[in-house]
Symmetry: C2
Subunit: 339 residues, 2 copies
């Protein structure tokens, strides 16, 4: 079926291509009778405009790219859901780039031949390096980071220090003093200002405020993942003086801790308290006490911020904006007083 073009329609309707284009884009200055004639021709030929040609001509794509570690971070999926809601509403399409590691992330950024295939970019969780940021800024592509930080880019964040503080404070209020912290690895010196590091800061603040001495043996880290966290939990629970409560930098890691407890037949929360961070969907099913961060909302806010930048495009540099979302403790059944 040779697909028909705008010129075919013009011929069929006995008008010029300009007129057909005007009908397609509901431009006001087309006489009613002409419009109908064109519409009839469109229907007769079953014509649909070719979006690629349109994109080329217009210089706009109606695509938004999202770069994120989807499969290793369940939180990405929930953020994505917020993003998707906004894009659908605005009739934009969503192009997904999955990145599991810093390396793969770098590769994706390098690979972007140009920033022409999309009108805006959302980056989740893994912030780009300075060099990439430079390229991004130079290209003029609107960018928003969600759950990632960079001084020169718009971003949607939470107050991680406060989150760490809230979690630790909760354990302290229950009466714990032997409180451990498990986090993912802080990959490069540069990334030390990452979320886990700031949550660690809040953890230390809460300890200090309560006059509890910080013990370096109670702080463990490894790559992010259930298995890794389980290993760390076993290490902690094998100490001669094991912690009575463990705070983890993510719910995924809390799951690892719960599994370790299960393997040791330790009952939670009677013998061990566990508190996570994020409040992903599974947390509810596992009755996990955690720090809730608005994942869905972060996606919505990020996408809206992005559209704001896209529409302000003419003025080039819209100021760098930062949105901080609220946190709250969600008490379920994995925390209780120490034994």
């Amino acid at each position: 079926m040779p697909t028909s073009t705008i010129r075919d329609v013009a011929r069929e309707a006995g008008v010029g291509v300009g007129t057909v284009s005007r009908v397609l884009n509901s431009h006001p200055s087309v006489r009613e009778t002409t419009r109908r004639r064109v519409e009839r021709a469109i229907a007769a030929l079953n014509y649909r405009p070719n979006p690629i040609a349109r994109q080329l001509s217009l210089g706009r794509t109606s695509n938004i790219a999202v770069v994120a570690p989807f499969f290793i971070r369940p939180s990405s999926v929930e953020r994505l859901r917020g993003v998707e809601t906004v894009l659908t509403e605005r009739k934009y399409d969503l192009v997904l780039y999955n990145v599991e590691t810093q390396d793969k992330r770098d590769e994706v950024f390098r690979k972007f031949p140009r920033f022409d295939t999309f009108d805006g970019l959302l980056v989740l969780t893994l912030a780009p390096e300075d060099e990439e940021v430079a390229r991004l800024l130079e290209s003029g592509t609107p960018v928003v980071l969600i759950d990632a930080n960079h001084p020169q880019l718009n971003r949607v964040l939470i107050d991680d220090v406060r989150g760490g503080y809230l979690a630790t404070k909760h354990l302290i209020e229950l009466g714990h003093t032997r409180i451990a912290y498990i986090s993912d690895i802080l990959e490069s010196p540069f990334r030390f200002v990452g979320a886990s590091a700031r949550r660690f800061e809040g953890y230390r603040q809460a300890l200090a405020e309560a006059g509890i001495e910080y013990r370096p043996t109670y702080y463990r880290h490894d790559l992010h993942g259930v298995q890794e966290a389980k290993g760390l939990a076993h290490e902690l629970l094998s100490l001669s003086e094991p912690p009575t409560a463990i705070f983890t930098a993510s719910d995924t890691q809390a799951i690892g801790v719960l599994r370790a407890a299960q393997e040791r037949a330790l009952s939670v929360p009677e013998e061990l308290s566990v508190i996570g961070f994020d409040d992903i969907e599974v947390a509810e099913y596992l009755n996990l006490t955690t720090i809730h961060q608005p994942l869905f909302t972060s996606g919505v806010e990020g996408a809206e911020l992005l559209f704001q930048c896209i529409s302000e495009q003419p003025e080039r540099q819209c100021d760098v904006l930062e949105v901080i979302l609220p946190l709250r403790l969600v008490e379920r059944q994995t925390t209780g007083p120490p034994p």
Copy 2:
């Protein structure tokens, strides 16, 4: 920064645009010295070809669209992971269309202005209606269904009847005779041949084979979701003669059953056995016994089948293919002998 075009490069290098294009696409018939000259010009102007223009000229996009109910079906995410692996390897981009309901699905299909923005289409879980299938076939776009069925389209499936049989048989072998089945709603008469219906068939087969009478009160259905399944489980457990085991059409629904048990302080598996279907990631964390279906693999197979169709395109109709993936029982800790 006015981005440079292939003509700028040609001028800079003192060659024709054809030559630059040949260099870009590593066409063999370019003299080595010329190639170097062009490469120098490309570097000097920091030139990157515009992918949109390329797409228009080539009639190919290097995009694959995926339509799926991502957020309500955790299994979609794992399938997507398989899809993503294949696409990345082939340097294709992934455009996501999320659909939560039949209605939204229909809307997405209608919305596709044409099938020009992507070279192939993967549809997960919700099969298109006949009318849409007709449009798809007419457009010549290669399509593969994953976890969905339609006689005229390529598809990757599992043997649902056998899955239902395996699950039920497992419960029977443990000694259960009062076995209930919870499934999602079978939306339209047409969709009755859906997965849940076929699993139901397997359930009945196993019962019949063991000489256990089928009781209609033990079969309940509602919309797919944790809450809904929890409600159905409560109904079942309130019967004067409640089931001692519940088989659900998905792990998500099994989670609902587990929560109902928890609310009634019924211990699992001592007082109630639960078996799910899918083996999504959470299943492991919840120690849920379930029927494992290869989710990741389904994505891989689906994507590869799609590429097969794309490359066979010249011959128009590649035969309709069906791939059936294997199932297996994963015994964890939510099933045991009846009380």
